[in-house]
Assembly symmetry: C2
Homo-oligomer: 145 residues x 2
């Protein structure tokens, strides 16, 4: 296995509603999307996909489970604390629930959280120790030799 994450698929109750939410945030749906059943967004090297929650559980052969904290958090990193506050504001304007307003984190960054219409959580973060490259991708410290 190569160390690559190709897709992150969010199980949602209403693909069209969720697609509109993400489009309001600036994501562009690929032509491969199918109106009421699936949406694909290029999210900078990884694909963000939306698919019915029941259909996703069935496809993976797992029980559907209950709503609530998924145990997974997505993050959108930006270059400043001011940008964190701006993105959190945009998300709320698009219909997100603010979980945690932007604030200084103990590790030296500045972050806040919102939930999408299905409760999937997004951190919006400025991490001064992991700068963004020219493509907006996080630069991680290399593995130790």
């Amino acid at each position: 296995m190569e160390p690559r994450l190709s897709f992150v698929t969010l199980g949602v109750d209403d693909v069209e509603r969720s697609r509109k939410f993400y489009e309001a945030l600036g994501f562009k749906a690929s032509a491969a999307s199918v109106a009421s059943s699936v949406a694909f967004f290029d999210a900078g090297g990884v694909v963000l996909a939306l698919f019915g929650r029941e259909a996703l559980a069935k496809d993976a052969s797992v029980p559907q489970g209950t709503a609530g904290f998924s145990g997974v958090a997505l993050a959108h990193n930006v270059n400043s604390g001011a940008a964190v506050d701006q993105v959190l504001g945009e998300a709320v304007a698009a219909g997100a629930k603010l979980l945690k307003p932007g604030q200084k984190a103990f590790w030296g960054g500045y972050t806040g959280y919102f939930a999408d219409p299905d409760g999937h959580i997004w951190e919006v973060a400025h991490n001064p120790f992991m700068p963004l490259d020219a493509h907006g991708r996080v630069t991680l410290p290399e593995p130790e030799a």
Copy 2:
């Protein structure tokens, strides 16, 4: 908000156990990782992170919830059906639970699923309609004009 996904953080019961699992699959932990509390892997343009499930819920200001299907699926795309079977075999050898053996999908691809030690689900997929570029990244059809 720019259309970018920066991090996917998996809430786990034991960061060291999960780190070993992902290292066995070929992921390399960044030097920014902290042994028992957090691990970061460059996953090809997006960062895959491991963090305590309770700590993650607390950080996001959400109730911890219950285990079970998270409503989120990750995917690792490869260039052939044979590679799907190979990666599923590697995952099982590393301690994953096989959820669905590799099989033809109705949409024309070939996929299977495994669960990591905390039940986070991964699809391993060959999608002939979304080829991988030189960096191993999925090529999505462009948005319609």
